[in-house]
């Protein structure tokens, strides 16, 4: 692998770095905020982020500067920034590290984003389980307030910004941006119809930007070193900058690895991750969190950028790469993920709520040795009646483990069903109602 520079993990990889305000400032921290307040108009900041090519790191990959640009400039009422720290996508654990190890990097990004869109208040919506992260952020906010970076008159200017930590209480769907807003309003986290989009009708129906933790952490670096510098990293023009990939599963060295976008899965898994944990070869992997369709060893040389992974039939998603060795049942793997999606479906849309339950029951039956001919067609039929028919992207996500394992490992499903057929005693079986 070619040499490259780490951006977001650089500070915390210094031995002894604990992420205090003092340490952060010593590495050049809050210089970007000073520069923005001194030299740049909000429009110039938005322009720089647009030119950098930065795209959202939460999963959808929407261009950040364009999202900021959608916020009406002349809106008379308040506007809001929400930092999405509800990291819950199975296989993803980068935001946790960014918050717990270098909280001020995130706060500086939040403050610059608030300045750019004209938001006097930012809420960090952090998942309820991250108690330690929430405490660390609260402490960092107090430090920053004490130093004049947060408050009614930041660094003596007339710009005032408040930042609050808001803890969730255990709901994956609250990572969906409109569900996050509902939850922040004190309601059940049910996604909203779009349009209208949060940029015009967000929190309390006011203009709102929702950005992921990692996305915001990039912002100070773009301000400090320029949009052109950022745009030259990775796979320009569409996938610029680095990504923190979260490597898990059957590898020697799981963990968070920050690399320029465009390195291959082979480099991540076999160089950075040290390869498979045993002699068993690689069987398959999930390239971007539980919502991303599975890929096979044939895809190891696919570049890890938005376009290349999409072309390979999956998505870069949240950056969570989960590796499975030979011997792992892919029916079981799909079942495990389906249990997750069934548990986390919010229940708003019928196809997702009912469909996830039916898919799960069929998978459980197949896995328990009760598979029947026609089950696989039924699964595919169910999946196709969920995809694209729900308010949010959860519906598309929940069918991807099933459809992708059926695509690449259909023989494993068939073997289980044949085995069940061969051992089934037909007498006394309860007839199944079919329409």
């Amino acid at each position: 692998m070619a040499q490259y520079e780490k951006i977001l993990l650089r500070n915390m990889e210094q031995p002894g770095y604990r992420g205090s305000l003092h340490e952060y400032e010593r590495t050049g921290g809050y210089q970007a905020l000073r520069k923005v307040l001194r030299d740049l108009s909000p429009a110039q900041v938005i322009e720089a982020v647009k030119n950098s090519g930065l795209r959202g790191r939460g999963g959808a990959g929407f261009p950040t500067g364009i999202k900021w640009g959608f916020v009406p400039k002349d809106h008379p009422g308040p506007k809001y920034l929400c930092c999405n720290a509800d990291e819950s996508e199975p296989g993803t654990f980068k935001d946790r590290q960014l918050m717990e190890r270098d909280p001020h990097q995130l706060l500086e990004g939040i403050l610059i984003a608030c300045y750019a869109i004209g938001a006097p208040v930012a809420y960090i919506y952090i998942r309820g389980e991250f108690r330690l992260g929430a405490k660390i952020l609260e402490r960092a906010i107090e430090e920053a307030r004490g130093a004049g970076y947060i408050g009614p008159r930041i660094l003596g200017t007339d710009v005032g910004i408040e930042v609050y930590v808001h803890q969730g209480a255990g709901a994956y769907i609250c990572g969906e941006e409109t569900a996050l807003l509902e939850s922040l309003e004190g309601k059940r986290g049910l996604p909203r119809f779009k349009p209208p989009f949060p940029a015009t009708h967000g929190l309390y129906q006011k203009p709102t930007v929702v950005n992921n933790v990692e996305t915001l952490c990039n912002v100070p670096h773009i301000v400090n070193r320029g949009a052109e510098w950022f745009a030259s990293i990775g796979s320009p023009p569409k996938s610029t900058g680095t990504r923190i990939f979260c490597l898990s599963g059957h590898v020697k060295r799981p963990g968070n690895y920050e690399v320029p976008m465009g390195v291959t899965f082979r480099e991540l898994i076999f160089e950075l991750g040290g390869g498979m944990r045993s002699e068993k070869p690689l069987k398959g992997f999930i390239p971007g969190g539980a919502s991303a369709p599975f890929l096979t060893p044939d895809h190891l040389d696919v570049k890890m950028d938005f376009e290349s992974v999409a072309q390979a039939g999956s998505m870069l998603g949240s950056g969570g790469v989960t590796v499975m060795e030979e011997g792992t049942s892919m029916v079981w793997a799909a079942l495990r993920l389906m249990e997750f999606f069934y548990h986390e479906s919010c229940g708003k849309c019928t196809p997702c709520r009912e469909g996830s339950s039916w898919i799960l029951q069929i998978l459980q039956r197949i896995w328990a040795g009760g598979g029947r001919p026609g089950d696989l067609e039924l699964l595919e039929d169910l999946c196709k009646n969920i995809e694209g028919r729900t308010v949010c992207a959860f519906g598309d996500a929940e069918v991807s483990p099933v459809l992708s394992t059926l695509r690449y490992w259909r023989d494993e499903y068939e073997a289980l069903i044949h085995q069940a057929e061969a051992t089934r005693t037909t007498k006394g079986e309860i007839p199944v109602l079919t329409m």
């Binding site: 199975p90 799981p254 968070n256």
Partner: protein, 176 residues
Amino acid sequence: MLREKHHQYIAAILKRYPVKRSAMLPLLNLAQREEGYVSEAAMKEIAAILDLTPSQVYETATFYTMLNLKPIGTFHIQVCKSLMCALVGADELIHWLEDHLGIKVGETTSDNLFTLSVVECLGSCATGPMMQVNDDYYERLDRQKVTQILDDLRRNGTSPLKSGPFMCPEPVPPSS
């Protein structure tokens, strides 16, 4: 009861939001912290604080899986069973805990000390198998480590084996 004991905290929370109802989750979390679960009395009190009906609070509370609506043991053991942890031994951990504690998933030990739950992904996929006990994460678990943790909890109410600020892999000192 919440209002008497946490008057200042509640006032500070309410000031953060232009709409009172936004304080719902902070107050539900506070109630659970106070009693170990969210009681009906607490929900009624939260409704009064937020100018809502008790059913509006109940409606919201039932959506969020972290909120316990019934009393549980002193230590709530939540083991992640999602795929990433299952690949590295979560199921073995769960079965071992069931045997060791003499309870099934969803039950509480007779001394009311431990409640065992299985949960979906806790964002700890590189350091599994793992569990959360009350506020703390415990990662890279094996039998020996879990035995030690349970002993510590019984004796001191906490364990030094809990995770600190997360980083994986750990930074390598320049000398090595």
